[in-house]
Every structure is written in C-alpha cells, then in structure tokens.
Amino acid sequence: MVDDQPSPRPGPDGEPDGAGQGWTAISYLITGILVWGVIGWLVDRWLDTGGVSIAIGTVIGAAGGVYLIARRLGA
C-alpha cells in the first residue's frame, strides 16, 4: 500500500516453486492413477475383464502422471 511498487526481486516466471511444485507433482501422480483407474474400471464393467483392465489402467495412469511431472516440472 505505502510501498506498492513492484519489488526489484525477480520472481520465478516459469514453474511454480517449492510447496506449489510439490503439490502439483502429488496431484499429477494421484489423479493419473485415479483417472485411468476409473477408465479401466469402466472398461472392466463393460467387457468384464475380471479386473485386469483396472490394473492396466492404473499402471497407464501412473506412467502418465510420472511423464507429466517430468515434462511440466522437470527441466
């Protein structure tokens, strides 16, 4: 308010840092597994694969999550 000029300290303008980055990583991992797990479950209900498609789905989701973390948060 009194010193409302932009601070000369440059902020990070690429990725979120610290806590934000950590939460982003966790959320990618969990949502990856959940989203593809649910898709696998739907496929399981449709084709009655005996749960195999859920396993495949969660693995795909985990791989996708890790890949996203590497692309979005890695170099």
Partner: protein, 263 residues
C-alpha cells in the same frame, strides 16, 4: 463431587463425541437455524475484525509508520512479497490485496478454533472452505482466460508438450488435475484439518470426563488427557497458521500457472 462432575459431563456430552451435536451448533435465537448460529456469527465477526483493524491501522498513515501501521504493513508486506511476488513474479502485486485478505480471513477463522471461549472454527464446516475455493477457482480461471483467451488457455492447461501419441493418455490427467482436483483439494485440505483439529480436542477433553466417569481411579489419566488437550491446542495454533498459508500459496501458484506461457 468428582463423580457428580463426571455424571454431569457424561450426561451433557456422550463419548465418543458426536458430529451432529458438536458441529451443527444450534441457532442462537429460536427458529433462525441455520442463519443465525455461532458459526455464522463467527464469520461476520472475522469480517468485522479485519475491516475494523485495517481501517484503524491505516487511519492517518504516516511516512514513518506508527507501530499499529507497521504491524498492518508487515502483514500486507509478507503476503505481497513472500507469497504474491515470490510465487507469481512481478505481476503478482496485482493479486496481493486478494491474497492478503484471503490469508487473514482464513487465519482468523482458523484461530477461532483454539481461542478459549470460542473454540470453534467455521472452517470446520465444508461450506466455508468450499466457497473460498470456488472464489480462488473462478479467479485463476478468469485470469488465465483474460491472459490467453479461452482456446489458448485451454491448450496451455490441457495439452502438455508431448508427442501426439501419448496425448490421449495425458489430456484426461491434465483435465482432472487442473480443473477438478485443484478446487476440491483446496477446500478439502482446509476443511479436514479444521474438522479433525476440533474433533481431536473434543476427544481429549471429553475423554478425560469419560475416563473419570468410568472409574474414579482413572482420574490421574484424565489429567493426562486434559494436559494433552492443552498441548494439542498449541499444535492446532501451528496448523491454523500453516493451513491459511498453504491455501494462499496454492491459490497464488494456480494464478501463476494461469498466467504462465505454455511450457
């Protein structure tokens, strides 16, 4: 005497503590539920406290700040420099007023949970964290759309830099992670922490009475239980501050993500 206190407590508060009874507080004036309860009064109290405090602190501002002005400026300076600018970059200054207000509002409401005589945080009801999360959600999406335009914003948010054949796997993850999980976790994290905090204090307080009531010989254990309540109250103070901080830092981080150019 001791047993009578125990009986009274047991009659008044069953153990384990009941959610209906301890979280859905009765209306202060008959027939006004749920619009005039301790919870709504606390919300208005938090709003009033913040307005009055800042109007008072900034009345007649000096170039060399007085003590009250200095404290208010330090709080704003913290939110501006250590949250807004650190997370978002120079553009973050635009969001500093919102982030400061959000931080203080959540903090005051959280602290109500441990202030003796009040000891209930409105944030222990999902409605309040959920609405705060909705405000932040609308904010960061609006910021992103204004910055990039709708289509480019969706592209930045949903389409990661990856070869085309993995995109079908990644886009659903991005969609859930960025547009659905974010507001939900924002609300749940704050709500669950405040809810659990209140529950833990109830368990140790009422547990002391329940033990004493079960067997008079257990009275020393009751004392330990109440000492735990005091210790946990300090822990709750830490959690109150931490959760307010995390909520604001994550909001800032999402705003930053909305402003950022494609990765």
């Amino acid at each position: 005497m001791r047993e009578r206190i125990g009986e009274f407590a047991a009659a008044a508060a069953p153990f384990p503590p009941d959610v209906e009874e301890n979280f859905f507080l009765p209306a202060i004036v008959e027939g006004t539920y749920p619009w005039f309860t301790k919870v709504t009064v606390l919300i208005w109290l938090a709003v009033a406290l913040l307005i009055v405090y800042f109007v008072w602190a900034y009345r007649d501002p000096k170039l060399v700040p007085t003590k009250r002005q200095w404290i208010a400026e330090s709080i704003y300076g913290f939110a501006r420099n250590n949250i807004a600018v650190d997370m978002i970059g120079r553009e973050g200054v635009r969001f500093a007023p919102y982030l400061t207000t959000l931080f203080l509002f959540i903090l005051v409401n959280n602290l109500f949970g441990i202030i003796p005589g009040i000891q209930f945080s409105p944030n222990a009801h999902i409605a309040f964290p959920a609405f705060l999360a909705v405000i932040s959600y609308v904010l960061f999406i609006a910021v992103g759309i204004r910055q990039h335009g709708l289509l480019k914003y969706l592209k930045v948010q949903l389409v990661p830099p990856a070869p085309a054949f993995v995109l079908p796997i990644l886009i659903p993850i991005e969609f859930f992670s960025n547009l659905i999980v974010r507001p939900v976790t924002l609300a749940l994290r704050l709500f669950a922490n405040m809810f659990a905090g209140h529950m833990i204090l109830l368990v140790f307080t009422l547990g002391g009475f329940a033990l004493m009531n079960a067997n008079a010989l257990l009275f020393p254990v009751s004392l330990v239980s109440w000492l735990m309540t005091v210790a946990l109250t300090f822990l709750e103070a830490l959690i109150a501050i931490l959760q307010a901080y995390i909520f604001v830092v994550l909001t800032a981080s999402y705003v930053q993500g909305a402003l950022a150019e494609g990765h």
